[in-house]
Symmetry: C2
Subunit: 211 residues, 2 copies
Amino acid sequence: MTKEVVRVEAAIERALAGKSCAIVSSGDPGIYAMAGLVFETCKVKGIVIMPPASAPEAADDKNVLRLEVVPGIPALCAGAALLGAPLTHDFAAISLSDLLTPWELIEQRLEAAARSDFVIVIYNPKSKKRNWQLGKAQEIILRYRDKKTPVGIVSRAMRKKQNIEIVTLDDMHTAEIDMQTTVFVGNSTSSQYLDFMYTPRGYAKKYQIKS
Amino acid sequence: MTKEVVRVEAAIERALAGKSCAIVSSGDPGIYAMAGLVFETCKVKGIVIMPPASAPEAADDKNVLRLEVVPGIPALCAGAALLGAPLTHDFAAISLSDLLTPWELIEQRLEAAARSDFVIVIYNPKSKKRNWQLGKAQEIILRYRDKKTPVGIVSRAMRKKQNIEIVTLDDMHTAEIDMQTTVFVGNSTSSQYLDFMYTPRGYAKKYQIKS
């Protein structure tokens, strides 16, 4: 975390000195990534920021920092695409990292998402030091969801050592999971078909697909 | 909806006849889009599908359909990037369309997400025929969240007639909103800074940003 603060401060300093500067994140910079910290830092430091195109009359104002977030493909989209289509209906993204968030709040979110039948995307499921949170998450979700619910597990999506597995909720803890893994817990309508996992958008009967 | 079924069936028919065929969605094909329907249709019709690279020994098998989902940048990332960084912490995506989902379930999800302090991304907030759901969503969220909570509203992100607004939760209903709008309701820590909206990843004090 401290290194991230240093990176952001260095980038802002260079940008204020007149250089074009980019902070690079993997995935999408706005989802559990660096973009938030840039805005937080500018606010704390009282730096005036503007989107690239607004207020053209301020184009030469050296006290104004032009800031643009370039969206990318987040792990939740890359992983979902490799699994099939687990996110075609309402979903909740929850990080299990309790470094900056109290565990009680994470538990409350898991419980709320499980009870209301959201597909659940779990970020930061496990690290070498944080190894019990995923088991606890599984326990909470099992209170509300069938143990045979499909769970898609994707590590290093579209990179070297990519790994894709589809398991059941009660087997989730047996899969290969680390900090570069995203876990997709299906809702009550999600299903596995061959090597794919998907969530139907609504009620199949309404679509009238002919078999 | 019926037209979407026809499109998917036509694409599958062509692909089974040996032609390469793509179904194009805006945004990401797996988020409230067409990918789920493709898998659902293949399952109902009993078509054998495989990822492009698996089982190379089946490469010439005409009964096997090779299926690849190419991820894209969903409206929730494109919109978030234009607003700043509203999704840097846990969030829930909820569609207000009750065409295929009972309104009671949508309400339950809104309530659960509001109560557990998720940032809430609302898809399909309003159409000409569905005009009361967003007001009801606002009412539910206001039970748990301050009326001054920032709400980012993005229509046609990165397209013609793009529109970006940041309002407060109690003013949400006054913004320009239609079916091409995505609404981002901040959590209890989200804030507006100048023309941007962001959600800090954790607790600012832990970052030790120097002012």
